[in-house]
């Protein structure tokens, strides 16, 4: 029998398609990786009435798409999707299997990896091919303060969940044509052991803070509620948004909507100006994807100051006031 063509697989996670672009981002990165190891990029799509997604994945760079379209696959289900994926992986033996680190992906991938007896790296923010041809996976730890490079040397496939937003998708190309392989529904799929009682889409809230290019973040080091209000003026001038730490929200200096942190909003501004924030892990986990960071704090040894591109050792409120003044002078019209 001829050797199987090497392949890199991406799990097609199409729920919340317009907010959740992670599958497209992974197809794009899989193309880069595939060039490095001479492989094809395959995507799986499980569900019912999924032609639209098959088309989308084809236009965004998939080479081959395995589709299993059946009414019994209508709802996302761990038990059922894992059994189906296990079957396909055992049959086609991909080198690499990438899954978006959505809530579903982060529950689906660990059980699947366990069943396949292979390694899995969580929530990666970097994927590369090393000199030895292994997939080098970069994953955050300690709230993003540390990064770890991880490989799976022996077991296959090399599996990773990948944080949404890590890679750029390939632009839509209407002429791209992936090979579509229809997979018949296996007759020995298990029943789902979890019963879905209800699933209600949450109203889309304003995503302004999460999407802002500039965020001005304040902590208790701003000194008082009154001084904290100046951050809103600064944010207005910069066309940005205001974020806050938990102690600030507890002190009612800012609304809960502004809360940035590990269990709260994760922000990714191009410029982050951080005022009077020491940098507790609960906060820094929410800002680890910020680009250029300016931190202002009286304590030069604060964690936040160490994370910054520019660390300003001074009173946070005074620097805020000086910045507002200077910006007003410089911005004409």
């Amino acid at each position: 029998m001829a050797a199987k063509k090497r392949s890199i697989w991406v799990f097609g996670d199409y729920r919340n398609y317009f907010q959740n672009r992670v599958t497209l981002q992974l197809i794009s990165r899989a193309n880069d990786l595939a060039r490095a190891i001479g492989a094809e990029v395959c995507v799986t799509v499980f569900g019912h009435g999924v032609d639209e997604w098959v088309w989308e994945y084809s236009c965004h760079g998939a080479h081959k798409i395995y589709v299993c379209d059946h009414e019994s696959l209508k709802f996302y289900s761990n038990d059922v999707y894992i059994a189906l994926m296990e079957k396909l992986v055992r049959e086609h033996e991909p080198e690499i299997l990438l899954i978006g680190a959505t809530a579903f992906g982060r529950e689906f991938a660990p059980r699947l990896a366990k069943r396949l007896g292979t390694g899995l790296t969580a929530d990666c923010i970097g994927l590369d091919i090393g000199e030895d041809g292994l997939l080098v996976q970069t994953a955050p730890a300690f709230g993003g303060n540390m990064l770890t490079k991880i490989v799976t040397p022996v077991k296959r496939p090399q599996m990773a969940t990948v944080r949404p937003g890590t890679f750029q998708e390939i632009p839509h190309d209407n002429d791209a044509k992936a090979e579509v392989v229809h997979v018949p529904l296996p007759d020995d799929l298990p029943k789902d052991r979890i019963t879905l009682i209800s699933s209600v889409r949450q109203p889309a809230r304003g995503q302004k803070l999460e999407d802002a290019a500039v965020v001005v973040c304040g902590g208790r080091g701003m000194g008082s509620r009154k001084k904290f209000r100046n951050l809103y003026e600064l944010a207005r001038i910069l066309g940005g948004e205001v974020g806050a730490t938990r102690p600030v929200v507890y002190s009612k200096w800012a609304d809960e909507e502004a809360l940035v942190g590990q269990a709260d909003k994760h922000i990714k501004p191009k410029v982050l100006i951080s005022f009077g924030i020491s940098g507790a892990i609960q906060h820094t986990a929410g800002i680890k994807d910020a680009g250029f960071i300016i931190a202002v704090n009286k304590n030069p040894n604060a964690v936040m100051m160490k994370m910054a591109d520019v660390a300003i050792v001074a009173d946070a409120s005074q620097v805020c006031t000086a910045l507002i003044k200077e910006l007003k002078k410089r911005i004409r019209s």
Binding site: R106, P110, G119, L147, I197, Q202, I281
Partner: protein, 273 residues
């Protein structure tokens, strides 16, 4: 009576991280340990089930001997007994090896469980994988990232937010859940509990031999993944330090970065002549 197991991990108290300035690495051995916050919420969830339905709680941790501290804390909060799984051949286990080891411990010491509760993720390695993988290893159903739960007979009803959907799900026991910190704020530890927890701690200890685990099945050797390198994510930052009077600092800041900041906010920030 509901027989529950709560799996917990000791993590470094990371709000005060001791850093090695030269290497940018965390001096993990110098950090104080604490019970991972989500694990504490899992214990709280178990305690509430016990209060409502009656029950028995076994807290399990796997780690170096120092991790025993969090088991004392678990007893003080109200766990009935604890199991400390520790062995040098378990060191460096990834989530596959950890879930394998925990599953053997559960089969050996408390195989008649109804419900296993884990924290949804840990604050150190943040994988969120051990819970689901433990369920897979034990071949029981699992639901991850649970915000709230309620037990009715042998059926567990849970609520969670999953990818922008508010979901209500049900699962028959035995099963496993991983719990978020959203609803289950841990209780304060009563003095009496604290005293008992240290005077007569009901803590069993198990090594690899007790669990029938051989070298190569746990620890680094039993782990499919391998860590190549750990580094500080702040490496690569310029970390320019500015001091002095606020007005002067702001002038310096613009002198250096007026173009880069200006391009982000799409405004010309050059000083007005």
């Amino acid at each position: 009576m509901v027989k529950m197991i709560v799996c917990m991990k000791q993590v470094p108290m990371v709000s005060e991280l001791p850093w090695d300035r030269k290497t940018g690495l965390l001096r993990r051995e110098a950090a104080d340990g604490m019970m991972n916050p989500a694990c504490k919420s899992a214990l709280e969830a178990a305690l509430r089930i016990k209060e409502e339905h009656g029950g028995h709680i076994t807290a399990i941790t796997m780690g170096p001997p120092m991790a025993r501290e969090i088991l004392h804390e678990a007893l003080a909060m109200g766990a009935d007994r604890c199991l400390m799984v520790s062995d040098h051949i378990m060191a460096g286990a990834d989530t596959m090896a950890t879930s394998f080891t925990l599953a053997r411990a559960i089969e050996t010491y408390c195989s008649d469980f109804d419900l296993i509760l884990c924290g949804c993720h840990t604050s150190d390695s943040e994988t969120a994988q051990v819970g689901p993988q433990l369920a897979e290893e034990l071949d029981i159903p699992s639901i991850a990232m649970v915000d709230d739960l309620r037990l009715a007979g042998r059926r567990l009803r849970i609520e969670r937010v999953s990818d922008h959907f508010l979901e209500t799900l049900e699962m028959d026991l035995p099963g496993l859940v991983t719990v978020t910190t959203a609803h289950f704020t841990p209780r304060y530890i009563p003095m009496a509990g604290l005293q008992d927890a240290f005077q007569e701690p009901n803590i069993l200890t198990a090594g690899a031999h007790d669990l029938g685990i051989e070298e190569g099945q746990s620890g680094i050797k039993g782990s499919p993944t391998q860590i190549l390198e750990v580094f500080s994510s702040t490496a690569g930052k310029q970390n320019v330090v500015m001091t002095g009077a606020p007005k002067k600092i702001v002038e310096d800041l613009f002198a250096l970065y007026e173009d880069s900041i200006g391009s982000v906010i799409r405004k010309d920030l050059k000083a007005v002549k």
